[in-house]
Symmetry: C2
Subunit: 231 residues, 2 copies
C-alpha cells in the first residue's frame, strides 16, 4: 500500500475488510468497560466509543470509514452488511472482541497498545494515498487524519493504565502476551487480505507469480469488472 503497488480492487478489499474491524471497535471497548469495576477507568475509556460511533449521522470513526468506502467505490450497504469480509478477517476480529469479553480488563487495555505505532503509520498512509492512489478522493481520507490526533492520546492513556495496573511480573507478562496476540490478529487480517488480492487477476502479478492464483471464479463484485484496472 505504501509503495503504490495496489490495484483499485486491492484497495477496495482492504477497505471493506478493515471496516469489519472498525465496526467491532466500539463493541470491543464496551466489553472492556463491562469487565471493569473501576469508575475512573471506565470514564477514561468511554470517549473511545463516542469517537468511533459518533453522536449522530456519520460523525465518528465508523462514519468516516463509510465515507472512505464511498470514495473507493464501495456502497454503504455493501460495507454495512459485511458481504466482502473474508473468513480469516472475521475470525481474527471476532477473536479480538472475544479477548476483550473474556480476559481481565488490563490485558484488553494492553492489547490496544498497537496504537502506539498508529500516528507514524497513519501519516505514511495519508501520504501514500495522496501520492499513489489519487483516484481515492481526498474527502474520504478524513479517518486517517483524525487518528493522527486520537491515536497518541488513546495510546498514552492505555499505556498509563497498563503501567499502573500491571504491577506484578505476572500481570506484566500477561500485558505483553496481550500485545503479541493483538499483533498476531492484525497480521492475520493483513495476511487474509493479501492472499485474497493475490488470488485476483492482476496484469503485473500474473507474470510475477508464473500463472498461479489468477483464477477468479467467485461472484464477489470486488473481483469482477470494478477491479483490475491499474492505479
Amino acid at each position: 500500500m505504501n509503495s503504490g503497488q495496489l490495484q483499485r480492487q486491492d484497495i477496495r478489499i482492504w477497505v471493506a475488510n478493515r471496516f469489519y474491524y472498525q465496526a467491532a471497535i466500539p463493541i470491543k471497548d464496551a466489553a472492556i468497560m463491562s469487565n471493569c469495576p473501576m469508575r475512573e477507568v471506565r470514564r477514561l475509556w468511554l470517549h473511545r466509543i463516542m469517537d468511533h460511533d459518533g453522536a449522530k449521522d456519520d460523525e465518528g470513526g465508523i462514519g468516516a470509514w463509510l465515507r472512505l468506502g464511498e470514495v473507493c467505490g464501495l456502497s454503504r450497504r455493501e460495507l454495512l452488511d459485511h458481504r466482502h469480509v473474508l473468513p480469516g478477517v472475521r475470525f481474527a476480529v471476532d477473536a479480538y472482541v472475544n479477548f476483550a469479553r473474556t480476559r481481565p480488563w488490563p490485558e484488553a487495555v494492553a492489547s490496544s497498545l498497537t496504537e502506539l505505532f498508529a500516528p507514524d503509520l497513519m501519516a505514511k498512509r495519508l501520504e501514500a494515498f495522496k501520492r499513489y492512489y489519487p483516484w481515492v478522493d481526498a474527502s474520504g481520507l478524513d479517518y486517517f487524519g483524525r487518528r493522527l490526533v486520537q491515536a497518541p492520546r488513546d495510546s498514552g492513556e492505555a499505556l498509563k493504565l497498563t503501567l499502573d495496573y500491571c504491577d506484578t511480573r505476572e500481570r506484566q507478562l500477561a500485558a505483553t502476551h496481550a500485545l503479541q496476540f493483538k499483533c498476531d490478529l492484525l497480521w492475520a487480517i493483513l495476511d487474509a487480505i493479501h492472499a485474497r488480492c493475490l488470488a485476483l487477476p492482476h496484469p503485473r502479478r500474473r507474470g510475477e507469480l508464473s500463472g498461479q492464483a489468477v483464477k477468479s471464479s467467485d461472484s464477489n463484485p470486488l473481483s469482477t469488472s470494478k477491479g483490475g484496472s491499474p492505479t
Copy 2:
C-alpha cells in the same frame, strides 16, 4: 420504608446493599452495548453509562449514591469495598450483569423496563425520607431527585427499542420473560435485605417476632453500636 417503619440500621443496610446494584449498572449497560452491532442503538444507550459514572469526582448516579451513604452514616470506603453486601444481593445483581452479557441485547434492554415504574417510586421515596427519616440530611437525596427526570426518558427509550426490535411473537415473549426476570431479581434483593433487617435487634420487632431473630453475633458494623436506635 415508605410507611416509616425502618430503623437507622435498616436504612443503612438498604443503602449499602443497593449500592452494589448501583455500581453494577454501568457494567450492565456496557455489556448491552458490547452485544449490540447497531451503532444507532449504542448511541442511544451510551448516556446511561455517563449518567451513572459521571465525568469526574462525584458527578453521576454512583457519586450521588455515595453522598446518600455518607448522610446515612456509611463511609465511602465501606460502600466501595462492598463489605456489607449480602450474598443474596450479590447473586441477584451478578445475575443481572450476567444476563446482559449473555442474552441478546433486546432482551437485556427489555429487562430495564422496570424503570417505567421508577418515577412514582422515586417521588414516594423522596416524600418518605423527608417525612419519616429526617436524620437523613436532604443533601443526600439528590439521587432520587435526578432519577425523577432520568427514569421517564430512559424507560421511554427502552420501551421504544423493545417495541421496535421485539417484532415477532418469540421475541415479545423473550422480552416479557426478561422483565419478569428483572422483577425477580429486584425482589430477591429486597428479600435478602428484609431478612437481614429482621435478624437484627430491634425493640419493636423483638416483641412482634416473639423473640426470634434477635441475635446479632457477627461483626458487621451495621448490626452493632451504630444501629439499633429508633428513627
